[in-house]
């Protein structure tokens, strides 16, 4: 119980040495960022010379948007929406137990590391690659899209869920343990109410992400509005493609507004 005695000068010298040391990682990160831009050719000014002109030409070709085939878009639109909902729910159901198992302090270290490894592997495979595999496995249509997006989402959500669970305030759980509440009761009454808003937040965000991803899934034959978009591009129907992009934008905005309302209700 003896405090180490420092003079004011010693304390200030110690603090300034720590400040100098903390500058080094900042410089290192800056260098890495500069290298990344240079290595990927972002500083090559010659590459930008015709870029603006080409972009304007493409935009002019896509205007005004052509909604002539709108009556054919209802089913793909619903397919895209259904894919995003099903994939997100499936992913959340699988990710929650995996998130609990990979959270520090909730499961044995070996099991935690194994689950973290599984989540890392699942996450590092892009959803398009998952899509190619599931198209081969279960055929064309929305189903391979759902499975592909769910797989990638499990990797992401599992990691987010684990971090949310690790960062809760342990005091309410400790208080309940101190009055004899069993572990399951502690999870129900002290952990769940704390993590619910953040779980809902990242899951809703993932739903919005999956809605955009569901469009891209069309490229590999997984149905939805993406298939219409790719077909329009292949046929050089840029005006129709623009109309489809606007329809997508409206759908994403509606989902965003809906999830914002849900977030507000929960937090």
């Amino acid at each position: 119980m003896t405090e180490s005695v420092l003079t004011l000068d010693q304390a200030l010298a110690l603090q300034s040495r720590r400040s100098r040391l903390s500058l080094l990682p900042v410089l290192a990160v800056l260098l890495v960022i500069l290298w990344a831009f240079d290595y990927s050719g972002a500083f090559d000014t010659a590459r930008y010379r015709d870029a603006l002109h080409t972009l304007f030409t493409l935009a002019a070709d896509a205007l005004p948007p052509d909604f002539f085939r709108w009556s054919h878009w209802g089913k793909p639109l619903l397919e895209t929406l259904a894919m995003s909902i099903a994939a997100t729910v499936l992913a959340a159901l699988v990710a929650l137990p995996l998130g609990v198992l990979s959270a520090k302090g909730l499961s044995p270290a070996l099991l935690r590391r194994c689950v973290q490894l599984v989540l890392n592997v699942i996450r590092s495979i892009p959803d398009l690659v998952w899509g190619v595999m599931f198209v081969a496995a279960v055929g064309f249509g929305p189903l391979p899209g759902i499975l592909a997006m769910a797989c990638h989402s499990v990797g992401m959500l599992g990691k987010f869920y684990a971090e949310i669970i690790e960062h809760i305030d342990p005091a309410p759980a400790q208080a309940l343990r101190g009055q004899g509440v069993p572990p399951l009761g502690v999870v129900r009454f002290a952990v769940w109410p704390q993590i619910l808003p953040q779980l809902a937040d990242v899951t809703l965000y993932r739903w919005e992400h999956n809605l955009r991803a569901a469009t891209v899934m069309g490229v590999i034959g997984a149905g939805g509005l993406g298939l219409e978009l790719v077909t329009a591009f292949h046929l050089f129907e840029y005006r129709e493609a623009m109309a489809l992009i606007i329809v997508m934008l409206v759908l994403v905005s509606l989902v965003h507004a809906g999830s914002a309302l849900l977030r507000k209700a929960l937090i």
Binding site: A171, P172, A175, L176, Q179, A190
Partner: protein, 270 residues
Amino acid sequence: MTLASFRDERPEHPQGGEPALIVDGLSVSRGGHLVLEEVGFTLEAGTITAVVGRSGVGKTTLIHCLNGLIAPDAGSITVPGLGCLDKPEALRLHRRSSATVYQDHALIGRMTALENVLLGLADLRHPLSPMPWSRDHRRQAAQALEEVGLLHRVSAKVRNLSGGERQRVGLARALVRKPRLLLGDEPFASADPALVHHFSNELRRAVDRTGLTVMLALHQLDVALSLADRVIALVDGRIAFDGPPEAFGASAQARTFQGIFSLPGGLADD
């Protein structure tokens, strides 16, 4: 309604003067450091005991041993009628009849004051029950809030309450359990002097009328001396003083709190 009325329906409570809890040779070490060493005392039913000492001296560890959150490395805690708390059933029954108020309140900010008080009854419900809290439980929780003068904030989210109000919600969560033993880890840390005075009076009335046994870790020495029947002072994890507050004189206080202001340039040099 007074705080005392929470205890009126508990006839099995030990009579005043009878031992309510016996601590013998309690030692706890954490991270290779001995936090409590050979601590022993007997709490008499219907008394208020204050544990005082410098920060980090082991007051919180002692409270956590008494509610079973920390298992001691050596020694025993015995509750007459239940037995030694190293037996799971004795610990379960002891916890059922005790409650703890925490320094950091241990509340859930996004939940209302009433919902937080209901957590004090969580051991009465099945963890997987989908049913909402019963009307009777909600009534008990509202009564506990009324007792601490916070009924008007029943629906307020705890994150919107002041520090003192949160402390009162934490106290209500303990009172709703109708405890035989009330433990407190700095329960008045966020309360203003008027509120401390009010709660001190209410606690004393509850103890006198119902035989409630209270043990509080306190850093406010004046509160400890005016409220407690008995003061236990810890120094380096050992009991340095155990007696009535009148006997806890200047020299005992100096021995308990020595060194706080002894750093170079500290107040002791003024």
